[in-house]
Symmetry: C2
């Protein structure tokens, strides 16, 4: 099957995607210095994915902003319990208690081509199950000292192929990697 | 005073400088793919520093290789207890139980211009005391899942200025950052 799963995320130089409570103030502060109209490839990436998969915590955080940023893109929230989905999102948001592998298989069967995997725990679960094909990581020029790490414990090394690195005037450095087949 | 302290180090994509026991097999494996004669700027950096400061663990590890790589460069090992210094290194290696700030002040007074700070705990101690001026970090294309992290817990954010990023054919990505004055 040709389904791919991708991570596209910003991290502090010390590898955190958010502070402990999910706060992104450090990222918002950095984004204030970004050139107008520059999205570091996000729109192109977002348009390339069929489905966005995230955890319950990310979902609730984004919902709290009162400005759903994902338009009509199907979003699947991984959660062992049912979640609250507001009326206006019922057409695009669903939840699943499947494991990453079960979900991946179902979506592959349904014809999906590329998944966007987001949120700390969810990304780590997909990595652990060997399901991530590529990473695009944008390093923000700040060390925040603690928070929610992008990567977690792994039994085995994950070898990567570096694809491309771009650095931006405003100090962000974006690298993309393809996951090599583990031997 | 114009003394600067610098970090020049390789990390896995998940931010480790070594496995838990100090093993560098993943780095050695990656180095096997490096173009002949390419040192990713290490020699130029090394020649720019007056003194290398490392912790006892790094010192003992390097000593175990039986091939001291630092020539006549003065090396100070941070250790609360005395360390064993082989005869042939007595002219260049010494140890100190000073705090990073005390050591920094003494070396500044002695006229040092640039310190090379190495080893996980030692780097973290210098960061915590606000003594690092610049980082050159070479990201190796592998996720190792656990190990000795480059960065540790910090009370306050450390804002950085991105200076330069180079990517190499063999997949290493080297970024340098200057530490901005904390406000």
């Amino acid at each position: 099957m040709s389904l791919k799963a991708s991570v596209f995320i910003a991290v502090s130089l010390d590898g955190f995607i958010a502070r402990k409570g999910g706060e992104l103030d450090w990222l918002d502060a950095a984004n204030a210095g970004v050139s107008a109209g520059e999205d570091c490839g996000y729109k192109v990436f977002f348009e390339s994915v069929d489905v966005l998969i995230m955890g319950r915590k990310s979902y609730e955080k984004i919902l709290s902003f009162n400005n759903w940023p994902y338009g009509k893109k199907p979003v699947i929230v991984l959660s062992s319990k049912s979640i609250i989905i507001p009326q206006h999102l019922l057409k695009t948001v669903s939840y699943s208690s499947e494991s990453p592998t079960e979900l991946w298989k179902r979506l592959a069967h349904e014809g999906a081509k590329r998944l966007y995997i987001d949120g700390g725990i969810t990304i780590q679960r997909f990595i652990t199950e060997g399901l991530i094909n590529d990473f695009t990581i944008t390093v923000i020029p700040v060390i925040i000292g603690s928070g929610i790490p992008l990567f977690g414990y792994l039994k085995n090394d994950v070898p990567l192929k570096h694809l491309e690195t771009k650095s931006y005037d405003f100090g962000f450095v974006q690298s993309s990697y393809e996951v090599l087949k583990q031997t």
